[in-house]
């Protein structure tokens, strides 16, 4: 083998290792979800889920409040994403397309605000909502999610808008559009994919939450899917088939949405961060 072939082989070996580390855990989750109990509890791992069973999925879905939790999660996610998208779009427009006093301060604030950990703010937020009688209410949890989804959305959308050449709108205005008309006819169609990407990424942020739902929602019929999933693991002698089936179900919406927008979010985040 030549030196060149050797390096190539080395790179490919490293690539296989990366593939194993990233994909095997996911494969193992899916496979375990389809295994029979005796194959899961085997000291020698059974690599393939053959013969398979749907029993784990059945028992995961049959858990109390599953459907109610799905509904709660959907309500919370949709409300949070819609509210934050509307507010963030207007704010991002201002931050990306206008010169005004305090613009630099605003941008700095947007960065700093995202650094304040929710893990710290959950205490006053809990006490505030408790005082207003809004703990254990879906409205309270939507408001809490906005604390991190809204700054994130403004920041990301600003990145998308900054990336659209201003000259396009200028050309439209030379051709007789108002500034607002140029926004609606030129900028808005171009930024629409960015809006979708931001919405989907906000969805994932909310879907991923555990802490807030755990602190704010107490009664079983108010909980979201994240709590449903975590409730599998608390019992002694975890029932791994059910946990893996539940984890798979929980991951599916996030994965589907994520695959739709992954590419855009990388460019949006970094572009927004490096361009003035």
């Amino acid at each position: 083998m030549t030196r060149r072939q050797l390096t190539r082989a080395g790179y490919n070996a490293a690539a296989v290792l990366v593939l194993l580390v990233t994909l095997f855990p996911i494969y193992w989750m899916v496979a375990t979800g389809f295994k029979r109990g005796s194959d899961i509890l085997s000291f020698e791992p059974r690599w393939l889920p053959i013969p398979g069973t749907l029993e784990n999925y059945r028992s995961a879905i049959a858990k109390p409040n599953f459907l109610q939790d799905v509904r709660n999660s959907l309500v919370v996610v949709v409300a949070t994403v819609l509210i934050s998208l509307v507010l963030a779009f207007l704010a991002a427009l201002a931050a990306a397309r206008f010169n005004f006093r305090g613009r630099a301060v605003l941008i700095i604030m947007l960065i700093v605000v995202q650094m304040v950990p929710l893990e710290a703010l959950i205490i006053p937020i809990y006490l505030m909502l408790d005082g207003a009688g809004q703990t254990d209410r879906l409205a309270g949890i939507v408001v809490t999610y906005l604390t991190f989804v809204l700054p994130f959305s403004i920041w990301t959308l600003r990145g998308f808008i900054v990336n659209i050449p201003e000259e396009l709108e200028e050309a439209a205005m030379v051709d007789g559009c108002t500034r607002a008309g140029a926004f609606r006819r030129i900028l808005f169609p171009l930024v629409a994919p960015g809006l979708v990407a931001t919405a989907v990424f906000s969805f994932i942020l909310v879907w991923n939450d555990y802490l807030i739902a755990y602190v704010l929602l107490r009664s079983p019929e108010k909980q979201t899917l994240g709590i449903w999933l975590a409730s599998f693991t608390t019992n002694h002698g975890t029932e791994w088939g059910g946990v893996m089936a539940g984890s798979t179900l929980f991951a599916i919406p996030a994965v589907v949405f994520f695959l739709l927008v992954q590419r855009r979010v990388v460019s949006g985040l970094t572009a927004g961060a490096v361009k003035g």
Binding site: W28, I123, P151, I154, A171, A172, V174, D175, A180, W240
Partner: protein, 339 residues
């Protein structure tokens, strides 16, 4: 500037573009002739500078209410005694710096701070180092292999945190976990029935693994995207001049990547410094005190033993430490963003 007669949804004419547009034929993008100009009204002109503020107002008002006020409340809580009694009464008792005094005189505080700092630096260091290596690897792979590895990274990235946690819990299960089986098979030692969470050091190793596994794809893919900005000729020229791989990376590749690298390092620091869910759920919502980081400690003082004042003080310390740690990056980032 020409205007159409259409109602303006933003309630006023917007500020003129920064660069004066050059003359172009008076048709819109679809090629239709432009509508006849109309002189802008004086009221519109007066309102023009207010437009950006009007656009910002709803978002800023909401943020002030749900973010600004809790931030103020967090600080004020940290100067109060606020327990079960105060919770029922709805107001705390001002006790000055007592909460802070109690924390800093507790040796446990310094243990937790040190533990949090070490945890975050190990996790961030591993994430950034491995992420850079994988990004560089992606560049050196053939097309098919690169697509495969990217797909694997994206799959891991897409996993929700809670899913990732239960996957790794299962892999590290003491009885039937694949990791114990593999280590025993490889002859590393007797890992049958080995409980990784008995010893905090090993437990934290597993937690760092979960955190890094989840964060690495984002870092690697973003850095790989950044690598396409590095001019290949420059690297080639350096190589021709006799620079080794490390020197090429250090002097050519890294400077171009630096802005992206800083952002990623900042984000990772923020995420890893306040890590909560991974520890809390991995240890079945009952972590022992050896597993406390600042976030967990603050949570357990507040919601576990209902001492919200002390919990708030710990949280304030956590925020201040986080700001100190990240201020270095943020200064560099702001330099990149410019005024």
């Amino acid at each position: 500037m020409k205007q159409t007669a259409r109602p303006d949804p933003f309630g006023g004419e917007l500020a003129p573009p920064r660069t004066p547009p050059t003359a172009r034929p008076a048709t819109d993008l679809a090629g239709r002739p432009a509508v006849a100009p109309r002189p802008p009204g004086s009221r519109r002109r007066r309102l023009r500078p207010l437009v950006p503020y009007a656009l910002l107002a709803p978002a800023l008002l909401v943020l002030a209410a749900i973010l600004g006020f809790p931030m103020y409340r967090l600080v004020s809580l940290s100067f109060q005694r606020y327990g079960l009694k105060e919770l029922f009464a709805g107001r705390g008792t001002f006790i000055g710096l007592d909460n802070y005094r109690e924390i800093v005189t507790d040796p446990f505080f310094w243990t937790v701070v040190a533990r949090t700092l070490v945890f975050a630096s190990v996790a961030v260091g591993l994430t950034m180092t491995l992420g850079t290596l994988v990004a560089l690897l992606l560049r050196n792979l053939g097309r098919r292999m690169r697509v495969l590895v990217t797909a694997g990274l994206v799959a891991a990235w897409a996993m929700p945190t809670l899913t990732a946690i239960s996957i790794w819990q299962w892999l590290f299960d003491f009885e039937f976990g694949v990791v114990n089986w593999l280590l025993t098979r490889l002859g590393v030692g007797g890992y049958e029935q080995h409980n990784w969470f008995d010893q905090p050091l090993q437990g934290f190793a597993v937690i760092v693994l979960v955190v890094v596994w989840a964060a690495l794809p984002f870092v690697a893919i973003t850095l790989h995207a950044g690598l396409t900005q590095v001019p290949a000729e420059l690297e080639e020229a350096a190589r021709v001049d006799g620079a080794g791989p490390w020197q090429v990376f250090r002097h050519i590749t890294f400077p171009v990547l630096k802005p992206v690298f800083l952002i990623l390092a900042t984000l990772s620091t923020i995420w890893d410094f306040k890590v909560f869910t991974q520890i809390w759920v991995m240890l079945n919502q009952r972590p022992s005190r050896e597993y406390f980081l600042l976030g967990i400690w603050s949570y357990s003082e507040s919601f576990g033993v209902t001492r919200y004042g002390k919990g708030a003080a710990i949280a304030v310390v956590m925020v201040v430490l986080l700001l100190l740690v990240t201020s270095f990056y943020v200064r560099q980032m702001l330099r990149a963003v410019g005024p």
